[in-house]
């Protein structure tokens, strides 16, 4: 991002600060402004919180996805992992509604397992992550539908659904989850040696390996992070919408688009958690705006397609 601007030395400080600023924040501001202009009620606290609450699963996912993207890969399996987790918890909690926290722990464990599986397939079997995770996408979807016999079964108790639906003092619980997760992720990626290693692996895996970095381990952890984010998102989404066989559909690509919007560079090496959070909010806000303007839902796919292509084309062009 930080390229030296060719301007008079007098202007330089101002300039560099502007040019260093991630464009996403400006984009986000613009979109939110557009929303408020086309529908003033969004200026109020309530609707704005609504909007953020609905964005929260995407935020969590995008942050998780960021880790994999920084490592140079993709994780397309998160969408159906979400569905799998929701269906699974619905079945588990249907028989023992009181075991909500045990169930959440179980789901997180599954997430960690799933993530490391992805990571190992990519680093040891050398399967390109986009293929590997697409394969896992099929597998998880199948597994979920197999468990539930192909249709939404079982039931999610309100204690579980609270995470996605309830608020404390008018502040959505989902947002609290997002903040905790976001801060943790930011610390890992920007505040630890692991984070630095991840960036190195994403930029030049060979150099990283020759500098003693355990590339396999670093990758596996990145995929774990993304899978766990999928589980968290699943808890929020399941809470929001209840049992469903389509709850996770399309989230994998939304997450990638959001990360890209947030300045993450596909195929590795660049990205920051705050910017990606902004990117996720921006994407959701953009969808909301399209909706308010009366664009049919499927148009969102097209928008995402344009975002990822132009993002990659742009970074290819900058080099």
């Amino acid at each position: 991002m930080s390229k030296q601007p060719q301007t008079s030395s007098l202007l330089t400080p101002v300039w560099s600060r502007l040019s260093r600023m991630e464009p996403i924040y400006i984009i986000l501001a613009a979109i939110v402004l557009a929303i408020v202009l086309s529908n003033p009620i969004y200026a109020d606290y309530g609707p704005m919180m609504q909007l953020l609450r609905r964005a929260s699963p995407l935020i969590v996912l995008a942050v998780g996805q960021l880790f994999v993207i920084v490592s140079g890969g993709f994780d397309l399996s998160v969408g159906s992992l979400i569905t799998f987790i929701v269906l699974l918890s619905a079945l588990v909690l249907n028989t023992h509604p009181e075991q909500v926290y045990a169930c959440i722990a179980l789901c997180l464990a599954i997430g960690i397992a799933a993530g490391s599986l992805n990571g190992l397939v990519v680093s040891l079997l050398k399967v390109p992550s986009i293929i590997a995770t697409l394969g896992m996408l099929l597998a998880y979807r199948g597994a979920g539908l197999y468990l539930s016999g192909g249709s939404a079964r079982g039931n999610l108790p309100d204690t579980f659904r609270a995470f996605g639906r309830e608020t404390v003092y008018g502040f959505p619980i989902a947002l609290i989850v997002v903040i905790v997760f976001g801060v943790f992720a930011a610390w890992i990626l920007h505040g630890t040696n692991y984070g630095r290693q991840l960036f190195a692996v994403g930029t030049n895996p060979r150099a990283a390996r020759l500098s003693g970095v355990n590339v396999t381990m670093v990758r596996v952890v990145a995929f774990m992070f993304s899978a766990v984010s999928a589980v968290v998102a699943a808890i929020l989404l399941g809470g929001f919408s209840g049992v469903s066989t389509a709850v996770g559909n399309g989230y994998e690509l939304q997450a990638i688009s959001a990360a890209v919007l947030g300045g993450a560079v596909l195929l590795g090496g660049r990205g920051s958690v705050p910017a990606v959070i902004a990117g996720a909010i921006a994407l959701h806000a953009l969808f909301t705006l399209l909706n308010i303007w009366g664009f049919p839902k499927p148009m969102r796919d097209a928008v995402q397609g344009i975002i990822i292509i132009s993002a990659v084309a742009y970074s290819a062009w900058r080099r």
Binding site: N193, A207, L210, G212, R270
Partner: protein, 524 residues
């Protein structure tokens, strides 16, 4: 990205050339390069170089790495365009914008790394991009027959329908040559053709080259190996620091003179004085019978505060030894001892680091640095790895970090800038500081000055010597003989995957070069 068809031989200038009588000194000269200059950033790769080759002549082109050989060849075959100077083929002035242009004029090259399709047949490779068709369909029989003819003309009995994968390296190289000359080439450039060949395979290659000479081709032959140059070549041109310093018939000079011409340089201006390492200085590293799939019988040791040089030509196993000392991949048999402890574990870089070894790989850009990351993030990487993933090793507020940057001559202030924006020399300093930050005692440096301009080289040499004097022990692996001789307190020479000879400091370069080139072995 320019596609093949786009560039065309510059006809107009060709005409200009022909009505210029000065150019018309044919005398069997096919290609004539006049006053060629080429600059890469700060580095002057070629400066007013003249070069020409005649029909039926094998013309050796020699010089140290970085002397400008490859650049000159690239100009000759149209892979790069010269900044200044002109090129005439059969006394017609031409401008090559794309290798295809040079091919059209009958100038072909065989690169060091083979440009072939292992999964296709010999015929398909020979006709790649120039396939024959009969009424719209590929004419396989036609191509196969023509290939057979070409191969036979070269006295090669390779079945054109074999898939290339099934041929030996030598066989594949023959095919590459056949491909190059299949379309009546007049000039054939061979870039270190024997680098990857075993001795007897080389003989087959020499036979082939002689055949071609009889056919009246002009052959430009790049090599370090004295034996080849004197056995095979009629004429030799020596490049040094981008200039042509000698061009004689091989009959008129001796190997020693040739080597002088290649090296002849006052080393003092370049290299710091040797260190004062007594023979009873403790041995910090000893390798006994180290071997893996490429290396065998590696026996070497390193004393504290010493710079031990390892010289070897391409394909001698030098690079492999560097990796082996860094455990990526390591030795598969033999023992490695280090001071204090036996059996230093070199199975992964991680363990090598833990044993206070540091490594500067051959290719800075591919193996040394993550270019789009900051100086600090690159330099700190190994240290952070050692410190553990969940801690945060800050680059700023720890004094030793800043002092290391200062000591190697990097300004700590711009440690957050991208390494990509640094000069080659400074980038190499970043790589070096990685290991100063981990407090490595033993440094394994592979080609530490490759692609670095002259002044930066000097700086790095001084730095290395300072480190050695401070008690670091350094293994310097390089294909640049002067740097080996200029820096090393002791010199190992490698050939054929093992260490063949050890020289004392300041040994005679010619002797070393002959040892490395195996001049004795290939004779007779």
């Amino acid at each position: 990205m320019a596609g093949g068809g786009e560039a065309e031989v510059n006809q107009t200038s060709g005409l200009n050339g022909s009505d210029n009588p000065a150019e018309c000194n044919a005398g069997g000269t096919i290609v004539q390069l006049n006053k060629i200059s080429k600059r890469y950033g700060p580095v002057m790769a070629l400066e007013n170089v003249d070069f020409s080759c005649r029909k039926g002549e094998v013309h050796a082109l020699v010089g140290e790495n970085g002397a400008g050989k490859s650049t000159l060849v690239k100009v000759l075959v149209g892979a790069v365009m010269a900044d200044a100077g002109e090129c005439t083929v059969n006394s017609r002035k031409v401008v090559f914008r794309h290798p295809a242009d040079a091919q059209k004029m009958g100038i072909a090259i065989v690169h060091q790394e083979l440009n072939l399709l292992p999964d296709r047949t010999v015929a398909e490779n020979i006709f790649m991009g120039r396939e024959l068709t009969r009424n719209g369909m590929l004419d396989r029989r036609g191509m196969s027959n023509k290939s057979k003819a070409v191969l036979e003309r070269l006295n090669l009995t390779i079945d054109p329908d074999t898939s290339l994968r099934d041929l030996s390296v030598a066989g594949q190289q023959m095919v590459e040559i056949a491909k190059a000359i299949a379309f009546d080439a007049q000039v054939l450039v061979l870039d270190e053709p024997t680098a990857t060949l075993a001795a007897d395979d080389s003989q087959t290659l020499f036979d082939l080259v002689r055949t071609l000479r009889e056919r009246g081709l002009a052959i430009v032959y790049i090599s370090h190996r004295m034996s080849e140059i004197f056995d095979l070549c009629d004429h030799v041109t020596v490049l040094k620091d981008g200039a042509s310093v000698l061009s004689k018939a091989t009959s008129e000079i001796s190997p020693e003179q040739l080597v002088k011409a290649m090296i002849g340089r006052d080393l003092e201006k370049y290299y710091p004085p040797y260190g004062q390492v007594s023979d009873d200085a403790p041995v910090v590293l000893r390798v006994a019978n180290g071997a893996n799939n490429v290396l065998h019988g590696i026996n070497m040791h390193l004393r504290k505060g010493e710079i031990a040089g390892v010289f070897g030509l391409k394909g001698s196993g030098r690079s492999e030894l560097a990796y082996a000392l860094w455990g990526s991949p390591g030795f598969t048999s033999g023992t490695v001892e280090t001071v204090g402890k036996l059996a230093l574990d070199l199975c992964t870089p991680r363990s090598a680091m833990a044993d206070a070894v540091g490594f500067v790989p051959e290719s800075r850009k591919d193996e040394g640095l993550a270019l789009s990351l900051s100086i600090a993030d690159n330099a700190m990487l190994p240290r952070r790895t050692l410190d553990g993933a969940m801690r945060h090793t800050s680059d700023a507020n720890s004094q030793d970090v800043l002092s290391v940057f200062k000591s190697v001559g990097l300004d700590p202030a711009d440690r957050n800038g991208e390494v990509a924006n640094l000069s080659g020399g400074n980038q190499q300093k970043v790589v070096l500081s990685k290991w100063l930050l981990t407090g490595a005692e033993i440094l394994v440096l592979a080609e530490p000055t490759r692609g670095v301009d002259v002044s930066a080289k000097a700086a790095i040499y001084t730095l290395l010597r300072q480190l050695a004097d401070k008690g670091k022990s350094i293994i310097l692996l390089s294909s640049e003989l002067p740097e080996i001789v200029g820096m090393s307190d002791r010199i190992y020479v490698m050939r054929g995957g093992t260490i063949t000879k050890e020289f004392a400091r300041g040994a005679d370069e010619a002797a070393i070069l002959m040892e490395a080139g195996g001049s004795t072995s290939a004779k007779g």
